[in-house]
Each structure stands twice: as C-alpha cells, then as structure tokens.
C-alpha cells in the first residue's frame, strides 16, 4: 500500500521497505483509534485505504482529512480522533500514548458506543453532564418499596395512559373510518373476489402519544420525597416506555431513563442510585435546566412534549437563570407542569422570588410529595391539558394571600 508521506525516491527495495513501514504505521494508528473508543468499522477502514490508494494524499493535511472523513462517525469523537492523529502523524509516533491492543472483538463498537439505539446515550464527554463546582455527597440508597406502595404504583401506572396527551400520527393506518380510502387494502381484498371490490377500507391518522419528559429534583431540600418522586417517574416510564424520558438534576444533570426502565421498582431505584451522584447535594436548578436546554439533543426531547418538573423550586442565589430556563422549557413543550412537595400544604403560596417569577410560564403548579398526592395530580392532568396555557399564575393569584 503506497504511502506518499513515507515513500520517497530510492531503489525499489527501499521503496518497498518504506511502504511496509507506512502500512505498519497506519495500522498502528487505526489500532490506537480503537483504543481510545473511536470505533472504525472494517468497511470504514477499507474506505481509508482505498482513498489513499486511489488518490495518494500529497500532504499531511490531506491525509488528515481522508482519515477524518472516512473513519469518523460523530463530531463528538473529534477531539479524541485529533489527539490520536497528532500523536501518530504530527509527532512521529505514539508519544505518551499507549495504544492498548484491543481484544478480539474486531468491528464490534465499544459498549456504550454510538448508535446502540436511537436516543442519545446516557453520559458522554462533551455533553455537559460533568460535575459542576458545587459539592456532591455521593450516591444514596432509596430504600424498599413495600406492599402498600406497590398497590399505589400499580394504580398510578394504570392511570398514566389515559391522561397522556396525543397528536394525530403522521403515518396513516387502516381503520374503520377515516379521511382517506385504503386503496391498497381494498385491492388486496378484491383479489379474493375475482377483482370485485366488495368492501371499502379506510385510512386514518391514529393518535400518537406526545413525549413525556420528567425532570426530578434530587437536591437535599427534597431529601424525604426523592424516593417517592422517583417511583412516580418509574410508573410513568412503565406506562409509556417508548415515549417517556426521565432526568434528575441537583448540582448536575443525569439522564436516568435507561436505568429506571427496569420493570421491578426496587431494582430500578438501585440502578438509579448508582448513577445519580448528586443526590441530597446542593441546589442549582437554573444551571441544571440551562445545561439540559443547552444540549440540542436533550432540548429536542422537550419539543412538543408534556414536561413535568418535580421540584420545590427553592433556588439559591440569583434566580434569573432558572426563570429564563423555565420560560424556554415552557415555549418548547406542549404543557409545562410543576409539581412541588411544598404545594401540598394548604397554606403554601408561591411567594419565593424564583417561584413567583416563573409562575407565569407554568401551565399548572400542583402539590406532589408522595404516591397518593401524585395519583391525585395525575388525575388532574386532563383538565390542565385541555385548558388554555399559562393558567398557573391566574389560579394561584385568586387564592387569598396568607394573613389577609
């Protein structure tokens, strides 16, 4: 395989030796790439070799582009790719880098690699899910569920599907009545009757549930309620597994959809407790929500979705980022519902600066601190969904202020 970077003039034997050396070097580079978790399938590697063979790159920059365009699959892998390329081609060798020889897994992408399934993966560098500066307290066990709770959770799970909002699907399906004739279906049935059409079939756009996005606050002020709030999220995920996304936030943002999807609640909570490292820590709601919205792939999950935030809304310091993030979340989603444990108390008024400022963005502010209150609020959702938007402020302002 000719490599013009290494193959200069000289005798034929020298050239052959240089080519062999170049091939070895290229092979080492590909192995090192795999070592840092940038998967390059055999077809992609073959593309690179074909590109080099068919139009030899005149300089290093071209070689760089050849390698990047044929091997790279995701811009997120670019920094790692650049590092390896620099180490192998711009500094003359694997300086400081120790390319660990991969086992025998050939083309199989590394576990957790891209494209294992459709939604973006849980945690990856560059996603902004890294630790923030605030303190964290490590993981926490969420306790056992118990029989009484199990019964309630089953009721909740059964209650969710009926209250989730739906839109007409873009894809038409055969139905009894509908706005279009299903000529294809009618035609297939006519085959059985010598081409005679005996019954007409129709196509309709069946309702497709909107996405449900649940953001659970796991900071210290909610310490008592966190396990139950996570159980509520678990029932929603069980009720609509394909359309529900769950995140937790405290000082950082964690996507827990996969961990929480275990059918058994206790197992799911155990998996979550291993993942969520900021439970019972400090509060930075504004920063966490901003980080959520700053990632376009996460923000896309909120688009047109029913967004439920489970949080007390007690923000420390400046509340402007939180208010701005809530407003954007409200604009992105179909409805924005805020469930706060504090609102369970009949004397509660959304009077803290942050809560008062963001109230106009909310469609509903309800009280949820455990499973029974969650069930009551879930049953109240249809009214919220069918009514006009941004009514939370109006509803709460009609309540008599405390002490009046």
């Amino acid at each position: 395989m000719p490599d013009p970077v290494a193959a200069g003039g000289g005798t034929r034997r020298q050239r052959d030796a240089a080519a062999a050396l170049a091939a070895d070097h290229l092979w080492g580079f590909l192995t090192a790439l795999r070592g840092v978790g940038v998967p390059a399938a055999p077809t992609k590697r073959a593309d690179l070799l074909r590109a080099i063979a068919e139009s030899p790159p005149p300089d290093l920059t071209t070689l760089y582009w050849y390698a990047r365009i044929t091997l790279l699959q995701d811009v997120g892998d670019l920094p790692a790719f650049d590092r390896v390329f620099d180490a192998w081609f711009r500094q003359g060798g694997p300086a400081g880098e120790d390319p660990p020889p991969e086992g025998d897994d050939g083309e199989a992408p590394s576990p957790g690699g891209p494209g294992e399934d459709d939604p973006p993966r849980e945690v990856r560098p560059g996603d902004g899910i890294d630790a923030s500066t605030l303190s964290t307290y490590g993981t926490r066990e969420f306790g056992r569920t118990g029989e009484g709770r199990h019964a309630l959770m089953r009721t909740l799970e059964a209650a969710w599907p009926a209250v989730l909002p739906a839109t007409p699907s873009r894809r038409r399906r055969p139905a009894r009545s509908g706005d279009r004739l299903d000529v294809r279906h009618a035609w297939r049935r006519a085959h059985r009757h010598d081409g005679e059409i005996i019954e007409l079939r129709r196509l309709a756009r069946p309702p497709r549930p909107r996405r449900l996005l649940i953001l659970v606050d796991v900071s210290g002020s909610l310490r008592l309620h966190t396990p139950d709030l996570l159980r509520v999220a678990h029932t929603a995920l069980r009720a609509a597994p394909a359309r529900t996304e769950v995140f937790t936030f405290g000082t950082r943002l964690t996507r827990i959809t996969a961990a929480l999807s275990h059918p058994h609640a206790d197992q799911a909570l155990r998996a979550v407790s291993g993942l969520v490292t900021d439970a019972d820590g400090g509060t930075a709601i504004g920063a966490a929500l901003a980080r959520f919205l700053g990632n376009p792939r996460f923000a896309a999950l909120a688009r047109g979705a029913l967004v439920i935030v489970l949080s007390d809304g007690l923000e420390r310091g400046d509340c402007t980022p939180m208010v701005r993030a809530t407003a954007r979340l409200s604009r992105l989603g179909h409805r924005l519902v805020w469930w706060s444990p504090l609102a369970c108390s009949p004397t509660y008024r959304p009077a803290t600066r942050a809560m008062a400022a963001q109230l106009p963005s909310l469609d509903h502010l309800g009280g949820v601190r455990d499973l029974p209150t969650a069930l009551a609020e879930v049953r109240r959702l249809p009214a919220v969904l069918s009514g006009p938007r941004h009514t939370a402020a109006r509803r709460w302002s009609t309540l008599r202020p405390l002490g009046a």
Partner: protein, 287 residues
C-alpha cells in the same frame, strides 16, 4: 460524469457559487471517488443542503430531493403500486372481455425519490434532507439503498443503479443516527466558516458590498457567534443581514445605523436580540 482532481473540484464549486473549505472539498472528492454517500452534519445555516444543489449544478445531473419528516414511510420514499390504476385496468379488461395480464408491471409503479435516483439513466444527485427528522425505523429502509444503491421490490425483483447516484444526507443532530447508517457513509462536520471564506461568500452573494463594510460585518458576525445565543446565525443569516443593511444604506442610512436596523435579519429570537443589544458596543464597535 467527470472526475475532478481535487484542486479543480474547489474551483468548479466556486464557479457555481459555493465556497467550500479544504475539509468539505476532500469529503466531496472522496464521495465521488469512492462512490459512497456523504453524511453532512453541522449547525443550521452552514450550507449543508446547498452542497447537494451545487453538486447538481456542477455535474449537470438532476437533483432529486427527499425531505424527511416524522412518519415518513417506504411508500413515500421508495415506491408504491398505483392501486387506482390497477383497479381501472381490471375494470377495462373486464368490459372488453380481455385477459387482465400482469398487474405488477413497471407501468403501475409509482416511483418515489429513492427509486427515481436508482433508475436515473445518467445518475443523479440525491439529497436526503434532515434525516434526523424521520423516525429511527426509517433508517432501516435506507440501508440497502445506501450500501449497494439497489432497491428490492418483491413483485419485480431487485433494481440496481446503472450509474450510482451521488448521495448527500444532512442531519441537524436532533437525535443520534444508527451506527449501521453511519457506517455506510462518509462523514463530515461543517463548521462555521472562517472570516476569509465568509468574506468571499458575501462578496459573491451580495454584489455592491464594499470591501471594508464586508470586513466589519464579518467581524461582527464572528463576535455574535461567540455570544451564548439560543440560535447562532448561519451563513444564510449573515448574507441576508448584509443585503438588508445594503438596501437601507442605499436608502440613505449611514452604514453603522443600517447594520443595527437590519439586525432582525441576523437574529430571529427576542431573547437573543436583547442579549445582543446588551453587548452591542463590543460587537459593533468597528463594524
């Protein structure tokens, strides 16, 4: 279809009004050379879709476009049998007392974009736009096509491309694409252009713009992109901004005032506008 050497390719693209940087030129060159689909990602407004249009112009091939959306299915992307026509054929044969004959012939086939691209005699440029908007299941329909440029129709057999089409896919990264799809494509991330390239684009797209004005405008746009905006302006926006400001300047506004008054063409979000006005001094000081 001619195969350019790399240098000529850049010149040909420029001749058609597209200023590609070295990476994109190499990507297009390799896509043509290796006959692979080219997957383009990048921020909105950096000219991903335009790549296909300009390729169609410089190669002289037809541009076939498939806009993806949620719910797109194979009947809209690959092919569909023309059932009403088949029914009429049956009725006609019946009334004339003839044999119906084969109802699954090419003449009863409705060709959707992918099949059209495969059957194009001299090849075609196929643009599969915003693939991330289609559901992830749809990607499975594409695999056979992207891998071998062929489509299997159960009633007819496999249709192979005589001349493989040039395929460009674009994605805005609202969701992650399947590995199987990416493996079949060359991948290129289009970044925002560096100042020189953006000036060249403005020069070509906005005739009558003075060199100094263009320089200041590009500097301002580069600074705007560094602000934490909800939506960073792409090339299309900066071109529109330059056009708008030029029109206002022709109407008598001094240039800096015209720039500010035309801001609605650059920034299209109220929150972003407020943020930009708060930083107006540093953004516009020498524009």
């Amino acid at each position: 279809m001619t195969l350019w050497r790399e240098g000529e390719l850049a010149a040909a693209l420029e001749g058609a009004g597209y200023f590609a940087d070295e990476g994109l030129c190499t990507a297009i060159h390799l896509a043509l050379r290796l006959g692979r689909p080219l997957l383009l990602e990048g921020e909105p407004g950096v000219g991903k879709t335009e790549v296909a249009a300009v390729l169609s112009r410089v190669t002289g091939l037809d541009l076939i476009r498939l806009q993806c959306f949620e719910g797109l299915d194979s009947g809209q992307a690959l092919y569909e049998w023309d059932y009403p026509k088949q029914l009429l054929q049956v009725r006609m044969a019946e009334s004339r007392g003839q044999d119906v004959g084969d109802l699954y012939r090419e003449e009863f086939l409705l060709r959707r974009p992918l099949l059209r691209a495969v059957q194009a005699e001299h090849g075609a440029v196929l643009l599969i736009d915003e693939i991330d908007r289609a559901d992830s299941e749809f990607e499975a329909f594409l695999l056979e096509f992207l891998g071998d440029f062929q489509i299997t129709i159960p009633e007819l057999g496999t249709v192979r491309a005589g001349t493989p089409p040039i395929v460009v896919l674009t994605s805005n990264r609202t969701r992650e694409l399947h590995d199987a799809l990416k493996r079949r494509c060359l991948y290129h991330w289009i970044a925002f252009p560096e100042p020189d390239r953006e000036r060249a684009i403005l020069r070509a797209a906005v005739p009558g713009l003075e060199e100094r004005a263009a320089e200041g405008l590009v500097r301002a746009v580069q600074r705007v992109r560094r602000l934490p905006l909800l939506k960073r302006p792409g090339i299309a926006e900066s071109v529109e901004w330059a056009r708008g400001a030029l029109a206002l300047a022709d109407g008598g506004s001094p240039w800096p005032v015209a720039l500010r008054r035309a801001l609605g063409l650059l920034i299209k979000d109220e929150e972003d506008t407020r943020l930009l006005l708060a930083h107006a001094e540093e953004v516009f000081d020498d524009a």
